[in-house]
């Protein structure tokens, strides 16, 4: 494998010296500990996951540490369960809404950051970093408090702003409203990462190019599409794939904000479906089948991202 480092004589000497030192076996020795540990704590569980999905494995079997082989029965159960399909569709819609809002608002705010005065940029960035640092469980509790129907501050503000009469409005009354509040919470928490990363990418756009385009009479959106977009497109692609993966598998925010007692098959998201049906009902075999199906969906979605990242890793 030819590396870029070997093109100059100086780095040739470097790579030779390192190669001499590390004759063959050394890199394998260095990665061995990670491989062994990950094999034990991740490889083995994933192997068990496949086995579990083919077994009847409930509480009784958990105590005996021994499942009963039942072939593809679990998969049949899951795939014939309308709840599974409804959950998949709901989760996809939820993911599209979350990712769409996060990326659109994130990109717009990053563009705003370029245009504001320095003090506003510093203020806003500092605020974003604070939001970024909030642990998800803490964020959930704060939103719980802000949206509670008795005296949540959100209802007060919306009423005062004459958006409508939100006095004692219950945000958790319908599935749509529940998932809507979860979306607001997730987008709020995800925005800082997206804004700061897109802003960093925007600073790579040559200012002369934008000026030249403006002098040539290009409209702002033309400048954005033809000059800015090509530079930030790779970053947007990475952020979008990451957001899709995260939001598709999100658990903590919806589970804690909606609250376990209010969770039912009608408002399941994928991760909650898996948790409730597999773990909570002690039906580990069926839970394993759901996990596998979910992992397959996620793996298919992450191909684009992983390939891009591997290319970066390969070059260096």
């Amino acid at each position: 494998m030819a590396s870029a480092a070997e093109t100059t004589p100086r780095s040739r000497r470097r790579s030779l010296s390192w190669r001499r030192v590390g004759s063959g076996a050394v890199p394998y020795g260095l990665i061995l500990p990670v491989i062994v540990v990950l094999g034990a704590i991740l490889g083995y569980p994933i192997y068990s996951l496949v086995r579990l999905s083919l077994q009847q494995y409930g509480l009784f079997e958990l105590i005996r540490h021994q499942g009963r082989y039942i072939g593809l029965h679990n998969f049949g159960l899951v795939l014939h369960d309308p709840v599974f399909w409804h959950t998949v569709v709901r989760t996809i819609i939820f993911t599209i809404a979350n990712v769409g809002l996060t990326m659109a608002l994130g990109t717009l705010t990053a563009l705003l950051l370029v245009r504001v005065s320095a003090w506003v940029r510093i203020l806003l960035t500092a605020g974003l970093v604070l939001v970024w640092a909030m642990p998800p469980v803490v964020a959930v509790q704060v939103w719980n408090w802000m949206t509670n129907y008795q005296n949540g501050v959100l209802n007060y503000i919306l009423t005062e702003l004459h958006v409508g009469n939100y006095f004692h409005h219950d945000w958790y009354a319908t599935t749509f409203s529940q998932l809507g509040i979860v979306t607001v919470l997730i987008v709020w928490g995800a925005l800082p990462f997206v804004i700061i990363t897109v802003y960093a990418a925007l600073s790579q756009v040559p200012g002369e190019l934008i000026e030249a385009a403006e002098i040539d009479g290009a409209r702002p959106w033309q400048v954005f599409l033809d000059v800015t977009m090509p530079v930030i497109r790779p970053v947007l692609l990475i952020l979008t794939s990451l957001s899709i993966l995260w939001d598709f598998g999100v658990f903590t925010q919806p589970y804690l904000l909606i609250g376990q007692p209010a969770i039912h098959p009608g408002n399941y998201l994928m991760a909650i479906y898996l948790f409730e049906e597999g773990y909570f009902k002690n039906d580990y075999g069926r839970g394993a089948a759901i996990s596998l199906l979910m992992l397959v969906i996620v793996a298919a979605m992450s191909v684009v991202y992983v390939r891009k990242m591997v290319r970066i890793g390969e070059v260096q």
Binding site: I31, V131, S291
Partner: protein
């Protein structure tokens, strides 16, 4: 020029408004934590309390298991970070300094594993850990945390090892240092800032983790701080919002402090390593 200036004023106004909206939940958490109960429960909110109190913090830390669960969190997080740093620094050196067969596969694994949703692994991890009697133990939780901490640390540290100037390694080689000597005397001090940044980030992700701790730890005395906080909310009729917000503030403080320390350094690693709470 005047149009430009008025535009600038408009953008600034939007920017400040956005700042207010984004930061409001955090402001509201802190403000509530210091407010007396009558102000918290009144229908018209008090934005800044004229009678701040520390009593909610007292309630929070005297609630059962607060200190035990914080101690559990610290144990889990510190062991996870220590193990992850030692193992992944070695692998990061291999990735950054050597070309070897299987390198690409290893990279794919390190990135791919980070993409797996944690919730997809709870069932097999639970069953396997139950088989080895590690359910309801901190060891079990540490094991599950390493599943995300290791790949992330390998990938991020690799970036820091790559950043070490080549001349310095060369100098060490010319000096005839032994392999281990060169590693320790040249590489380690240079990669130390990267190690600190990566550890802090692994610390934050582990401290924030919820679902593995939730499924593995059943005894209240064995839970972590995030699980403690998630159980704080009683029946919604008589929720102690002041205590909850004080507890939330306490759980968030270590993360916020660490995050502000490393935020700049980790920005690029995040895009590469990709970890979110």
């Amino acid at each position: 020029v005047t149009r430009r200036q008025s535009n600038r004023a408009l953008w600034n106004t939007i920017g400040v408004a956005l700042f207010v909206v984004m930061v409001f939940p955090i402001f509201w958490m802190i403000s509530t934590a210091f407010k007396p109960d009558d102000e918290i429960n009144s229908r018209v909110p008090t934005w800044f309390s004229m009678h701040p109190t520390l009593s909610h913090f007292g309630t929070a830390i005297h609630r059962p298991f607060f200190w035990v669960d914080v101690k559990n969190s610290l144990i889990v997080v510190l062991v996870t970070v220590a193990v992850a740093m030692v193992l992944s620094l070695l692998a990061a050196v291999a990735l950054a300094k050597y070309r070897f067969t299987g390198r690409k596969l290893f990279i794919v694994l390190m990135i791919g594993i980070q993409m797996l949703p944690g919730v997809g692994l709870i069932i097999p991890l639970y069953v396997v850990l139950a088989r080895y009697h590690q359910v309801n133990t901190l060891t079990g939780v540490i094991i599950t945390y390493l599943t995300f901490a290791l790949p992330f640390s390998v990938w991020t540290l690799r970036g820091f090892v790559l950043g070490i100037p080549k001349d310095l390694e060369e100098a060490a080689m010319v000096d005839g240092s032994s392999r281990l000597g060169a590693f320790l005397r040249i590489l380690l001090p240079l990669v130390a800032p990267g190690l600190v940044a990566t550890s802090v980030f692994a610390f934050i992700t582990s401290w924030n983790e919820y679902i593995f701790a939730r499924i593995l730890l059943n005894d209240q005395g064995k839970q972590t701080a995030t699980v403690w906080l998630s159980y704080f909310l009683g029946s919604s009729k008589n929720t102690d919002w002041g205590g909850l917000m004080a507890g939330s503030t306490l759980v968030a403080i270590p993360v916020v402090v660490f995050f502000l320390l490393i935020q700049r350094r980790i920005a690029f690693g995040l895009t590469a390593g990709a970890v979110r709470g």
